[in-house]
Amino acid sequence: MLRRMKESLRRMGGVALLATRGAVRAKVVAALLALLAVCVVALPGAVKGDGTPDGDLRILLSYTLGFSFGILCLATLWSACALFAAEIDSSRIQLSVVKPVRPFEFWVGKWLALLAFNAVLLAMVYVTVYAQLQWHLRRNGWTAADCLVSRRVARPLLPSPRESALQQYENLRAQNALPKNLTRREVLRTLEEKEDERYDGINPGESASWRFHLPRPLGNADSVTVRVRFDTEFSTREKVKGVFRLAVPGRTDAAVVVPLEDFTQNEIEFVVDARAFAAAVSADGLRDFELAFHHGGDPKSTAALMLRSRQDVVLLTPGGSFVANLARAALIQGSVLALLAAFGLTLSACFSVPVAAFVATVLLVLTVVANSVVGTISAEDEKQWQNKMGIAVSRTVHWASDHAMRVSPLESVTCGERIEGGVLGECVLWNMVLMPAVFTLLGCAVLRRRELAEGE
């Protein structure tokens, strides 16, 4: 048993080494390194920040890591598409498959080669970007503790999207406003899909509040950051006047009031020292907060404050180091590349190089588009038979990509939001274990069934 496992590992190692040598000697790696160098070294010199430490570093991080990840995604997908297909097309695979190698060993060997490649390249990109961050900090005299942060995110305690959808459904039914020709299930699904993106309006003279429960109690020396992103009513674009009030629920002596004045970023972020709530610390520690907004504008005006409660209102508390967060982001990106490699390899086992690359690219574009398509599907769209196929495909792709990227690693890192271990674990499990296992089964089934030679 042990001997067989050893032999199997040797076979997989041999296949991985062959793929690695092929990539290095075909100068794929050299070309990739050159492109990444342009993204990581040359690009930051070409783009200008807004002059603030946060803005500059955010731009540096999002441009360098974003472009590098995009290049690696395409390179991984297309290389994977060629790995089996090119060998089959050139008949080189014949000499290998007549040896005692199982399709599984071939598949995993090639996948591991791609994994190792991406790990090395991603590590190089992240180390270089981090070095650049440090250099920027030193050059501008900014302090790392202020700029390079990692904070836990607490979102408002709201009913689940399903519960909200049910409530909205009941309201619509009470008003006799339910769309015709749609089943209850279809209406609920549409409402649930739109829940995350749903804007609430706070009109002049009105107030809104959100309750929070922090994952960990706030220490005496800590601070809590309130961040609210918003928009004014789209038709008027009028400015809004109002105040935010952060308080411990049920206590009037532990509250901080901050006016909303600055509209340049459509975002307000203010830091409150935990000592402001010292009088309200319970046995459980300082964990529960209530954030309220009162619109102080003219009640006759139409300038409502628009925001998405599930996304735009958050409390941020200290949580780990920036470097660890950067490493988590790299791991999530690496896991996505592993998923793309598995997907490309399966296509490669099914089709020739150009067909596999074409299908992969189309599906990649669909993944990018599907997220916005799903958010805009209306009840009317669902009724039309010619849309049904497109909607079904978009929903499936959206579902899969939603699992692959439970969190946007770049946005988290640039906004200083900690990527939680649970989310990281889910991404890694989905991208590096579950989906590759499904693709392995598919790819191996195809390799086993497919004739790998032609007649005379």
Binding site: S8, G14, S91, Q94
Partner: protein, 307 residues
């Protein structure tokens, strides 16, 4: 299946189909074939006769439309059976970016060989096929003959019990051809079974114990070479040192005995033998040495002594 047979096919049939699954050509039509342990078996036939298709079915590269094929008593897809086979295709299909040393190490790894064992076999094979001087040059820059030698070496890396050679001498010069034929004979002497195809009938005649002739997917003739080519009602004497007078006397005696004129000729050596005799004068025709790890009987003896 008879334990003494390494290959057996019964009614093997292969129909190639187009994209719409419509039959295009029936490449092999109900083939029954048997290759025994330790014999060199030649598969002959014109282009498109189904030789390569048969070989590819035996290697699991193509699936038969109907019928059965067994290699070492197992279906061709069986990994245990595959671990006992060496295969040299008609075109070598090597990875052009690898050196011969890396190529052999790669194929050795596919047999699950350990690093040291693989390295030792690689060096012995490189020496055997006379490529140790070019072991670190990319195969893509090799001549066809040199690439063929690498192909032959990779077919032997697992010390196979069955060697399947598709046109093994294609692209080789006469010295290379001779060496391959010597190797085949030496391996067969050591108990290795060989199935080979060739367009060069002289090659087959030189090394094969039995041959089968295929045409349009069917087996047209099969048997031992001596039996197939024998002319039972004719006799040939080969005598050296007779003068003209003695030849005339002998001829007269035989003609009076059989009652009709007899044919008389003076045998000449084959062109290949003459060529080798000429080039051998400068020492290029080396004494062929099989890689030590391939010498099954010697290795078995050594193992017995160790035991």
């Amino acid at each position: 299946m008879d334990a003494d047979n390494v290959i057996e096919t019964h009614g093997a049939r292969k129909v190639f189909r187009d994209f719409w699954r419509r039959p295009v050509v029936e490449a092999v039509k109900g083939l029954d074939l048997t290759v025994r342990r330790g014999e060199v078996y030649g598969l002959l036939g014109p282009n498109g006769s189904g030789k390569s298709t048969t070989i590819k079915m035996l290697l699991g590269l193509l699936r038969p439309t109907s019928g059965t094929l067994c290699v070492f008593g197992a279906p061709p897809s069986d990994t245990q059976a595959k671990s006992r086979i060496g295969y040299l295709p008609e075109v070598s299909h090597l990875h052009p970016f690898l050196t011969p040393r890396e190529t052999l190490m790669y194929y050795a790894s596919l047999f699950g060989l350990g690093r040291e064992d693989a390295r030792r076999r690689t060096e012995e094979l490189l020496k055997m096929v006379d490529l140790d001087h070019a072991a670190d040059r990319a195969v893509g820059r090799f001549s066809k003959g040199m690439a063929r030698r690498v192909g032959l070496a990779q077919a032997l890396v697992n010390a196979p019990e069955l060697l399947i050679l598709d046109e093994p001498t294609s692209g080789l010069d006469p010295i290379g051809c001779r060496e391959v034929k010597d190797l085949v004979r030496l391996l067969a002497k050591d108990g290795v079974s060989v199935l080979m195809t060739s367009h060069l009938l002289a090659d087959v005649e030189d090394v094969c114990d039995r041959v089968a002739i295929m045409d349009r997917g069917e087996l047209r003739a099969e048997g031992r070479i001596g039996e197939l080519l024998r002319q039972p009602d004719a006799v040939r004497f080969l005598v050296a040192g007779l003068d003209e007078q003695a030849v005339a006397a002998l001829r007269g005696t035989i003609e009076s005995r059989v009652g009709h004129p007899v044919q008389q000729d003076y045998p000449s050596m084959s062109l290949e033998a003459y060529f080798l005799q000429v080039v051998a004068s400068d020492g290029r025709l080396r004494a062929f040495e099989v890689a030590p790890f391939l010498k099954r009987q010697e290795n078995a003896g050594a193992e017995t002594r160790h035991a």
